[in-house]
């Protein structure tokens, strides 16, 4: 049963092989190493999943990592139900996206590098989800952040790409700072950073308070919120969401794997993993729920008007991540994880389809220049349509079940903000359906609006790309069937599966209410689709008219609520000003350089004087030596 170690270490081996030998020896064959490794991981993961289904939970230390007095950390692995779900999501998406990349990245000059980073990312992500202590979690957390940086800036000769990479990395610093503090707080409180003792002792600290910056703060709230800081950064929630849309500068498979299916969901995973801590603090949960709800509404509204195909999906990702936090915030961790799991499939699929479209359009991203692609690329069209139906929450598709579960538990749960976030969630469901289908209609229906040359070039993507699309499409449609609620005659297996780890909130509602919530969400979804169809298929002049009529609102949305500009004004520009005028101008040039140049200069001057002593004449040295003898002898006599 120790073969679970293969899961993270196969990708690591692939990374090492690719990075060491890729450039010279493997070149165009680099993908074989990575794909075989990830596929191997996937097979082992499936085997492990069956073990976990049979009720065997693994919690083992591999070796001692750091031992320092009280502080002991091992590289250790915990594979329980929650980890198993994440493992399946990560390895499945990773395998398919690796295969997809063979087609997408074909002929790129950094081919081996791409696969090396992709494998490294997979390794880090697996270490993250398999950790049995917070430090290893943090290792994986930073590791995926690093890979994200590498891969966003993959086209590093493009300034916007390298800038986006830096932005992602720096914005994440803010969140990770809090996360790091959170881990320190956990250590200070519990004296250990292993999950198991921490979570089992957490209840004992439930009512403890701590003096923080002069205020008495509820200890568990503080820890939970500090951990949540990390989640906000990694999962691109308000107010640290700004890096994710820019991250779309990376290659599309990266967007699909890292910035949709796996890495960004790490924040949700963290909250779910730490649910014993979060559950002890009503305040923290409320903040989580509100952050999620507001972010999801905020991102969805921005998504309405954007024209960049990948950015729309990026905002959609932010919005859906908000949904997951919303679920976690009302205590419905299982629902959040369920949505994470279904979302991984349909969102990865959406991205890969977008990549396929880009591939056909020679890198064009502007929706306004597409249209009518349906007949050129049927596979992409149908798979993307299914993904959109899924995200829009059309009954029967995966997204429907997870979204419905979230909304129902928000409505019926005991959270004080439950009803409020339910309303927002429903509105977001409507908006999601709208912008998703806006994307579909503008891309695949109507007339082609691009250049003649582009039209001539249109083609369906190669098999290496379409096959993963089809497989993911099956996931996007069917992955939700493992969690069909009791109401619809299903077994809610997913919830039951995760119950031992995450528990399950009690729903205080009647069947009638449950039907109502479901009906409202279905109506919201369909009306969104319908409205999109009306706007972009039937009366295509309405959107234009609306933008003119509500010009101010449109401008705000188009400029993403001016958040980037605000940050630039508050943080970036003062930081750059300080760096330029104070750090470079005074500290660096006046102080450090003065010291750095002055010391050697002083030594040089001194030695210029001192070296006159070195006459090179033998007898001078001998005379000085004799003089020394004289002095020493005289001193001994005079003493």
């Amino acid at each position: 049963m120790s073969n679970y170690l293969l899961i993270p270490f196969l990708p690591l081996a692939a990374f090492l092989i690719n990075i060491l030998f890729g450039r010279k020896y493997l070149k165009e064959n680099s993908h074989w190493v990575s794909i075989l490794a990830v596929a191997g991981s996937w097979i082992v993961t499936v085997a492990t999943l069956f073990d976990v289904l049979a009720g065997r939970v693994i919690n083992e230390d591999l070796y001692s990592w750091i031992v320092s007095g009280e502080f002991k950390v091992s590289v250790g692995f915990l594979i329980d139900q929650l980890t198993a779900v994440m493992l399946i999501v990560v390895t499945t998406c990773s395998t398919l996206i690796h295969i997809y990349s063979v087609g997408y990245m074909h002929g790129d000059k950094g081919y081996y590098r791409f696969f090396a980073y992709l494998s490294l990312f997979t390794f880090c992500m697996l270490m993250l989800v398999m950790a049995n202590n917070f430090l290893q979690l943090y290792f994986g957390w930073e590791g995926v952040g690093l890979c994200s940086y590498f891969l966003i800036g993959y086209y590093f000769d493009k300034k916007s790409a390298s800038d986006a990479g830096k932005k992602a990395f720096i914005v994440n610093r803010f969140g990770d700072f809090g996360f790091g503090l959170g881990i320190i707080m956990i250590f200070l409180t519990f004296g250990t950073i292993y999950y198991e003792p921490v979570f089992s002792q957490a209840k004992g600290f439930a009512s403890q308070t701590i003096n923080f910056l002069g205020y008495d703060v509820h200890l568990m709230t503080l820890i939970a919120l500090l951990l949540f800081c990390g989640s906000i950064g990694k999962s691109a929630q308000m107010p640290l969401h700004v890096w994710l849309p820019d991250a779309m500068e990376g290659p599309t498979p990266v967007s699909a794997l890292i910035h949709a299916a796996t890495m960004v969901t790490a924040g949700v995973f963290l909250v779910a993993r730490c649910s014993p801590i979060f559950s002890l603090s009503e305040t923290a949960l409320m903040i989580v729920a509100l952050t999620g709800a507001i972010t999801s509404l905020f991102a969805a509204t921005i998504g309405l008007v954007q024209n960049d195909i990948k950015r729309i999906i990026a905002y959609s990702t932010i919005s859906q991540l908000g949904y997951m936090f919303l679920a976690a915030g009302v205590g419905a961790y299982t629902a959040g994880m369920f949505h994470l799991y279904t979302h991984a499939f349909f969102k990865a699929l959406l991205f890969l389809c977008a990549g396929s479209v880009m591939h056909a359009m020679s890198g064009e991203l502007d929706l306004q220049k597409m249209g009518g692609l349906k007949k050129y690329m049927p596979v992409t069209y149908w798979t993307m349509l299914f993904a959109s139906l899924s995200i829009a929450g059309v009954p029967g598709f995966a997204g429907f079940f997870s979204k419905d579960e979230i909304l129902w538990l928000a409505y019926s749960g005991s959270s004080p903000v439950g009803k409020f976030v339910w309303v927002i969630g429903t509105v977001v469901a409507f908006l999601t359906a709208f912008y998703s289908f806006r994307l579909i209609f503008l891309t695949f229906h109507g007339k082609f609006r691009g250049t003649h040359e582009q039209e001539h070039h249109l083609h369906e993507s190669p098999k290496a790309m379409t096959i993963p699309l089809v497989i993911l499409c099956i996931g996007a449609v069917a992955s939700g069937w493992v969690g069909i609620p009791h109401l619809l005659g299903g077994g809610a297996h997913f919830t039951e599966f995760l119950k031992p780890v995450l528990g399950h909130p009690e729903a205080h509602g009647t069947h009638a209410e449950e039907w109502m919530v479901m009906a409202i969400s279905i109506i919201a979804g369909f009306s969104g689709i319908g409205l999109a169809a009306l706007f972009y298929l039937v009366k295509t002049d309405i959107p234009v008219m609306l933008t003119q009529k509500f010009n101010a609102a449109y401008k705000i949305l188009w400029n993403k609520y001016y958040v980037d500009e605000l940050y630039s004004f508050i943080i970036v520009r003062p930081a750059i000003w300080t760096a330029k005028n104070i750090l470079i101008g005074i500290t660096d040039a006046r102080i450090i350089e003065a010291v750095v140049n002055g010391v050697p200069k002083g030594i040089g001057e001194f030695s210029r004087i001192l070296r006159k002593v070195q006459t090179g004449l033998l007898q001078h040295y001998a005379a000085i030596m004799a003089l020394g003898v004289l002095i020493i002898v005289a001193m001994m006599l005079l003493r």
Binding site: L610, R611, K612, V613, Q614, T615, G616, L617, L618, Q619, A622, A623, A626
Partner: protein
Amino acid sequence: MVPLNWYLMLSAVVFMIGVFGFLTRRNIIIMFMSIELMLNAVNISLVAFSHYLQDMRGQILVIFIITVAAAEAAIGLAIIIALFRNKDTVHVDEMNEMKG
């Protein structure tokens, strides 16, 4: 009986003459001979000690000193030959390659 101190004084005088020669002569060969002179001065005191303290170790030391002096003379003279070949001089005040 001649007192031991006389020998020591003789040794000191010869030694300091050697030091003076080493410090002041320009000819490197004479400087070399000054070194031999100093070694001999030390030998005198060692033999004197050996005699007066009735201990053979002083004379053993003298034998080693003579050995080392022989080795040193061989090496030193070889260096002088090499030096003269390259510099065409035996005057140390004309050599200051090590000047800082």
